[in-house]
C-alpha cells in the first residue's frame, strides 16, 4: 500500500516536472523548475531506502552498483554474487526496481546511451533468469550524462561504467 | 642525350671533312699543272728572241743588184765556217737549252717542293682550323651549358621566391595546375603577369597571380649577363601545381 502511495506521489511529482519543463521558454526561469526536478530524484532515493528498511529486510548490504569493462556489458563475478542476493530479496519481497545504466565519457554520446542500456539490460536479464518478475524492473540509460566520478583518468572512468540498482 | 648525339654528329662530320680533304688533295693537282704549263712557254720565248737578232741584219742589206764574183773556195770555207759557227751555235744553244732544261727541272722541282710544302702547310692549317673549330664548337657547348647552368640557378631562385609567396586557397587540390607568364625587366622587377592556362578554379588562379605579384622583384637577376636575360628571362613561364597538399 505504501508502495502504491509512493507510486502516485512519484507520478504526481513527475507530472509537475513535465509541466515545468514544457513551460521553459527563452526566458530564464531557473529556480522552480530545477529545484522541483531535483527534489523529485533526491526524494525518490530517500523514500525508497526508508521503505526497504521499514520492511525490515536487512540484507541491503549487497552492492547496488555493478561495474563493467570498457565497451562491455558483461557482468563481473562479484556483480553476480550481489545480484543473487538482490534477486532473492526481490522474489520474497517484490518491489519496483529501476536499473540505471551508465558509461564513461569516452566515445560518442548516443552510442554510450546504448551501451548504458545494454549494461542495465544485462543486469535485468540476470535477475529475470533468477526468477524475478520482469514487470518489476525498469531499465533506463543515462549514457555518459550522469557521471559518478569526475576526471579523465582510468579511475574515474572505471567508476562511471556502472549500473545502479535503485 | 642530345650531347652524345651531337658528339657522334661532330665525329661523323669531321670524318666526312677529312675525306673531303683527302679528295681535295687529288683534285688540287689540276690547277697546279696548268701553272706549270705556263712557265716553260715563258722561258722558250726568251730563246726565240735571241735567234731573230742574227737573222735580222741580212734582210736589211738589200743591196742585191750587184752580184760580186764569189770565190768558191772562199765561199766554201766561209760556208764551212758559217756552218761550223751555226753548228757551234747550235751546240751552244743546245747546251744552253739543256742547261735551261736542267735549270727548269731544278726550278720545277723546287717549285714542286714548294707546292708540296705549301700544300702540307695548307693541310696543316686546315687541320688546325678544323681543330680550332672543333674546340670552338666544344667551347660553345661548354658555354651553352654554363649559360644553362646559370639560367637554371636563376630559375631555381625564381621558383623558391614564388613558392614562398604562394598561399593556396582552401579549394586547392593536388592535380590543379595554372600556367602563368611573368614579364620581367633587367632590374628583376615583375612588370606583368598573365594567366596562360587556367586551373578551372578562379581562386586558385588568383592565388598564383598573387604569388607572382607579391614576389615583386628578383633583385638577383641584375647580376645576370644581359644577353642571357634577353634570351631567357624577359618572359618566364611558370606552372603552379601543388604536390604538398593533404587533399
Amino acid at each position: 500500500m505504501k508502495v502504491t502511495s509512493i507510486k502516485s506521489g512519484l507520478s504526481a511529482l513527475l507530472f509537475a516536472a513535465l509541466l515545468a519543463g514544457c513551460s521553459s521558454n527563452p526566458v530564464v526561469d531557473e529556480e522552480p523548475t530545477s529545484t522541483d526536478i531535483e527534489d523529485t530524484s533526491v526524494q525518490t532515493g530517500q523514500v525508497d531506502t526508508s521503505e526497504i528498511e521499514d520492511v525490515a529486510v536487512e540484507t541491503v548490504t549487497a552492492d547496488t552498483i555493478f561495474y563493467f569493462d570498457f565497451d562491455k556489458a558483461l557482468l563481473k563475478p562479484e556483480s553476480r554474487a550481489a545480484l543473487l542476493e538482490h534477486s532473492a530479496m526481490l522474489q520474497s519481497n517484490p518491489r519496483n526496481v529501476r536499473l540505471e545504466g551508465h558509461a564513461d565519457e569516452r566515445g560518442t554520446r548516443e552510442y554510450n546511451m546504448a551501451l548504458g542500456e545494454r549494461r542495465a539490460q544485462a543486469v535485468k536479464e540476470f535477475l529475470v533468469l533468477q526468477g524475478v518478475s520482469p514487470s518489476l524492473i525498469e531499465v533506463i540509460s543515462y549514457g555518459e550524462e550522469r557521471a559518478a566520478a569526475y576526471g579523465s583518468n582510468e579511475d574515474a572512468w572505471g567508476l562511471n561504467r556502472r549500473v545502479e540498482l535503485k | 642525350m642530345s650531347n652524345s648525339l651531337s658528339y657522334s654528329a661532330a665525329i661523323l662530320f669531321s670524318l666526312a671533312l677529312h675525306l673531303v680533304l683527302v679528295g681535295a688533295l687529288f683534285v688540287d693537282w689540276q690547277p697546279e699543272s696548268e701553272r706549270v704549263m705556263v712557265q716553260p712557254q715563258y722561258i722558250e720565248a726568251k730563246l726565240v728572241e735571241l735567234a731573230p737578232k742574227k737573222k735580222a741584219p741580212p734582210p736589211k742589206a738589200k743591196a742585191k743588184p750587184k752580184k760580186p764574183r764569189v770565190d768558191l773556195a772562199k765561199k766554201k770555207r766561209e760556208e764551212k765556217k758559217r756552218l761550223a759557227k751555226i753548228a757551234a751555235q747550235k751546240k751552244a744553244a743546245e747546251k744552253k737549252r739543256l742547261e735551261e732544261q736542267r735549270r727548269k727541272k731544278a726550278e720545277e722541282q723546287l717549285r714542286l717542293a714548294e707546292q708540296r710544302r705549301q700544300q702540307q702547310e695548307a693541310e696543316r692549317l686546315r687541320k688546325e682550323s678544323e681543330l680550332d673549330q672543333a674546340l670552338a664548337a666544344e667551347q660553345a657547348l661548354i658555354n651553352a651549358r654554363k649559360d644553362e647552368q646559370a639560367a637554371n640557378s636563376y630559375r631555381q631562385l625564381i621558383r623558391q621566391r614564388l613558392s614562398e609567396n604562394w598561399s593556396r586557397p582552401p579549394s586547392a587540390r593536388r592535380g590543379m595546375e595554372t600556367l602563368i607568364r611573368i614579364r620581367l625587366v633587367p632590374t628583376g622587377r615583375v612588370v606583368g603577369v598573365t594567366v596562360l592556362k587556367s586551373s578551372g578554379d578562379s581562386a586558385f588562379d588568383r592565388s598564383v597571380e598573387q604569388a607572382a605579384l607579391k614576389a615583386e622583384q628578383f633583385v638577383e637577376l641584375q647580376a645576370m649577363d644581359p644577353a642571357l636575360f634577353e634570351r631567357k628571362f624577359r618572359q618566364v613561364d611558370v606552372a603552379f601545381s601543388p604536390e604538398d597538399l593533404r587533399l
Partner: protein, 437 residues
Amino acid sequence: MDCQKRKTPVSQKIFALIILLLFSSASHSELVIRVTQGNDKPTKIAIAPIDQSGIQSGEDISRIIESDLQRSGLFKTIDRRDMLAFPGSAQDVYYRDWRLLGSEYLVVGKLRAVGGGRYQLEFSLLNVTAQKTELTHKVNGSISQMRDLAHLVSDKVYQEITGIRGAFSTRLAYVTAVRKNDKYTYRLSVADADGAREQLVLESAEPIMSPSWSADGKELAYVSFETGRPAIFRQNLVTAVRQQLTNFTGLNGAPSWSPDGTQMALVLSKDGNPEIYLLNLQSKKFTRLTRHFAIDTEPTWMPDGKSLLFTSDRGGTPQIYKLNIATKATERLTFSGNYNARPSLAPDGRTLAMVHRQTDTFHIASFDLKTGRMIELTETRLDESPTVAPNGAMLMYATKQGDKGVLAAVSLDAGVRYVLPSRIGDVREPAWSPFLR
C-alpha cells in the same frame, strides 16, 4: 686563307648548325619553371574602420568582419593602430599606404541612412597587390541588423578570395552543463557562428542531448530527459512552439531531420535493442529500418535522401555503415581503426567527419567515401560530436581542455585549428546550422 674558306664552308656551316641546335634546345620554353610547394600563410587583409558617418549602430562593423575572417584561420588582419588612413571608398585609397603594411587586400565601407529606419552599407574589396578593386556591393538593413550586415560583408569577402561560400551568417546550437554542488543545470542554446547573440532554447535539470537542425534552419530536434526518460522533441526557434515526438520505453535518441524536412530518422530500443526508425512527421507513422541484435544508432542523411549513414557494432566494434532506405540493405564503410562513430557528412556529399580511434585516443577524422581514405584531423583527446559547417570549410567538435568541456574547430584538411572562447561550465554537442539566408 681565302682558298681554305672556300674549301670548307660546308663543315663550318654544319658546326654552326650543331651549336644553334644546342642553343635552341636550351632556350626552348618547354623548360617551364614548376612550383610544386607553397607557403600557406594566412592572407593579410586590412579592414579599414567603416565610415559610419555618426550613425550610432551599437556595433563596430569592422571589428566583426575582422573577427570573422581571423576565425576562419585563412586571414590575418592588420592592426587598426598601424593604419595610416581610414578610407571610406575605393577612390580615397592610396595603395602604397597599404602595401607598406604588407596587406594584400583591403576592405573599405560607408554606412548611410536611407530613410524609413533603414541603413545602407556600401563596401569594396580591393586587391592591394594588384592595385585594383575586386568587388563593390551594397546591403541594406535595420539598426538591429548591423551584425548581420557585417557577417554578410565577411561572407562576400571570403567567397571572393577563397572561391568558397562564406558561413559567417550561420548559427550554432550547443548544450551547456553547469555543475553546482553536485547538481547540474543543462541548457540548450543557439548563438551566431561567432558566439554572439546567444539565445536560450531549453533549460532543464535533466540531461539534454543531440540537437539537430531542420534543413530550413527554423527548428531544432533534440533529446530531453525532462520526463524522467529520454524523449525526442522538436522546437520552433522563432515561435518556441514545442512538440514531443516520441515517448517509448528504452532509448529515444539521435534525431536527424531528412533533407526535405518530411521525416526524422531516430533510434528506439523498444523492440529489444537500439534500432533505427523513420518517423513521418506528417502521418506520425514509424517505419523500422534495421533489424539486428547489435547497437544501431546515430543516423545521418545522405544529401539525396535515399540513404542513411549510421553507427553499428554488429561487426564487433562500432563502425560506420550505410543503409539503403528503400531496400534496407546495409553496407559497412569503415575498416580502419577499432572505433568509428557519429558520422557527420560534409556538403560535398563525399567527405565524412567522425569520431575515430586507432590506438587508444578518440580523435576526429575525415573519411573520403570515394577513396576510403581516413585522415586524423585533431590532436586533442576525447573528441566527439563533429559537426561540419554548411560550406564544408570547417568542422566544430567537442573536446576537453583539462577537465573542462570546450568546443574546438578544425578545417577539413587539418590546416586550421582553434579552440572557441570558453563559456561557463562544460560546452558539448555543437550542431552547425545550414545556410540561413
